[in-house]
Amino acid sequence: MSTDTIIQTEGLTKVFKVGFWSRRVTVLEGLNLEVRRGEVFGFLGPNGAGKTTTIKILMDLIYPTSGHATLFGRPIGDNQAKARLGFLPETPYFYDYLTAAEFLQFYGHLFSLRGALLEQRVTELLELVGMSHARNLQLRKFSKGMLQRVGIAQALINDPELVVLDEPMSGLDPVGRKEIRDLILRLKESGKTIFFSSHILHDAELLCDRVAIILKGRMVACGRVSDLVGQSATQSVEMVVEGLSAEGLEHLRPLAEKFVTQGSQVLAVLKNQQQVVSALEIVRSAKGELVSLTPHKSSLEELFIREVKGLEPGLREGQ
């Protein structure tokens, strides 16, 4: 393990006992993860896949049934490791009787921050998350988006090296999500390691250096987004044409994988580059007008759906 390894887990397994008869439910099975310094790491999976369980183990909130995990090379629960960590829980509720400033001061006290230094940090953080105007407003009057912001400010109070965010984008509107994305990039710029979970793959695709995908407690893929997507990329091109003659239509139809006509417009999905060249030729000769031509990359989402389908039959596949 190098000093640049921030999070490491080995064979992390969690079995919950459910109900009166203590039925055993495995929510996490043999998870091996490694997050390196300076990365933005996306921890992806559908609801109930075990993302939050993993984060709770890392945050010392629950204990693994077996396996081992370290933060900064120290065992979980170590106070020195915790001092270098910031955490935003999923759908956070906070002490709603506190004002935003009191809230941040309280967390500062837990890191033994005091006096003018703490005051300065609180002001800075409120400025950073755009909550300066709500400094003396009780949290109970905050909207969900505002709570998420002070939640992030809370996670940054100790200027942590590692920031762990559990579903930071869920429940936010598109503007809010954009803002969180910008913040994560900004934190990355200032040299922090960011580990976040999400079930919204689009966000992860835009942000992450590396991602891990877990399903039903098991990791099914891990690596750079471009690698993961590239591995299984089968590109296609979407072409929209207008005013194509009937003859032109007849020529175009066999080329396309999907072919939809709507009024005077035609949408054709073309399989490969060669077909695109032929299709453009047909359009030109049939005096059609090209409306749009969109290359369609295989997304993380498609990969994800494939993985889910692949796992459904119960195949035990290697990662």
Binding site: M59, D60, Y63, F87, P89, E90, P92, Y95, L98
Partner: protein, 253 residues
């Protein structure tokens, strides 16, 4: 310092949740009864105002100790606020101790204000003030310390409702344990053993009850005072340790 920060935050929560409004009811009770008492002729009404004052202080405090005590930890878990605390460099026992201290400070202030109210009414009614009254107040507070700790223990591993029921049960049995022991002495060996076990394990809360001593001006030997105080504090410490052990081992779902 972290313990104190958490304690202060808990105290602030109690204040902002308007917990101390119970003082208004106490004030009304005191004023109402003193007005009533000045109109009555037959009776020793000094003792009624003291009984009423001490009993209602005791009851208000116990209700707060139980119902705020059981939610001290479970509320933080339900609202997931505990996630942000435990993930910071705060050992779990410090969190628990902080919550406990916060409620104890709330109870202390609550009791102090009520005591001041009682003194005012007593002065108005020209009821004699005895040092025994202070000792009784101290012991009432000692009972709060124990009951709050009981509530804390239960709330570390069961639901709020069950904690409330269990803590109330301990409160009731704790006041009856001497009677249970006497009852057990009349039973067979098995019954006697069980009731004896209950007597020694559960807190004997009647020991903290000096209300009768105040109104009848019966003194308590200094040794008894010291021993009972030591008993109460040790019991609370034992419960806090127990709560810490349970709390240390549990998962926060």
């Amino acid at each position: 310092m972290r313990v104190l920060s958490i304690a202060f935050n808990t105290f602030r929560e109690n204040l902002r949740e308007k917990l101390l409004y119970n003082l208004l009811i106490f004030a009304l009770l005191m004023i109402g009864s003193s007005v009533l008492l000045t109109r009555l002729t037959v009776g020793e009404w000094d003792r009624l105002i003291i009984d009423l004052g001490l009993s209602s202080m005791n009851l208000f405090g116990i209700l707060i100790a139980i119902f705020v005590g059981i939610s001290l930890v479970s509320k933080e878990i339900d609202k997931k606020t505990i996630f942000t605390i435990i993930s910071k460099p705060v050992p779990r026992y410090e969190f628990l101790l902080g919550k406990y201290l916060g409620l104890v400070v709330t109870l202390l202030i609550n009791t102090a204000v009520m005591a001041a109210g009682l003194f005012v009414v007593m002065a108005y009614l020209k009821a004699p003030f005895t040092p025994m009254l202070l000792k009784a107040l101290g012991f009432i507070f000692l009972e709060f310390l124990v009951i709050t700790a009981v509530a804390l223990v239960f709330s570390t591993f069961t639901s709020t409702t069950l904690s409330a029921i269990f803590t109330l049960a301990v409160y009731v049995v704790g006041h009856l344990s001497t009677d249970l022991k006497l009852f057990g002495d009349k039973m067979g060996d098995a019954g006697k053993a069980i009731l004896n076990a209950i007597y020694y394990v559960l807190p004997n809360l009647e020991r903290f009850n000096l209300k009768g001593h105040v109104i009848h001006h019966i003194d308590v030997p200094a040794t008894d005072l010291v021993l009972t105080t030591a008993y109460g504090l040790t019991y609370a410490a034992f419960l806090l340790l127990l709560a810490s052990i349970i709390f240390q081992r549990r998962d926060f779902q």
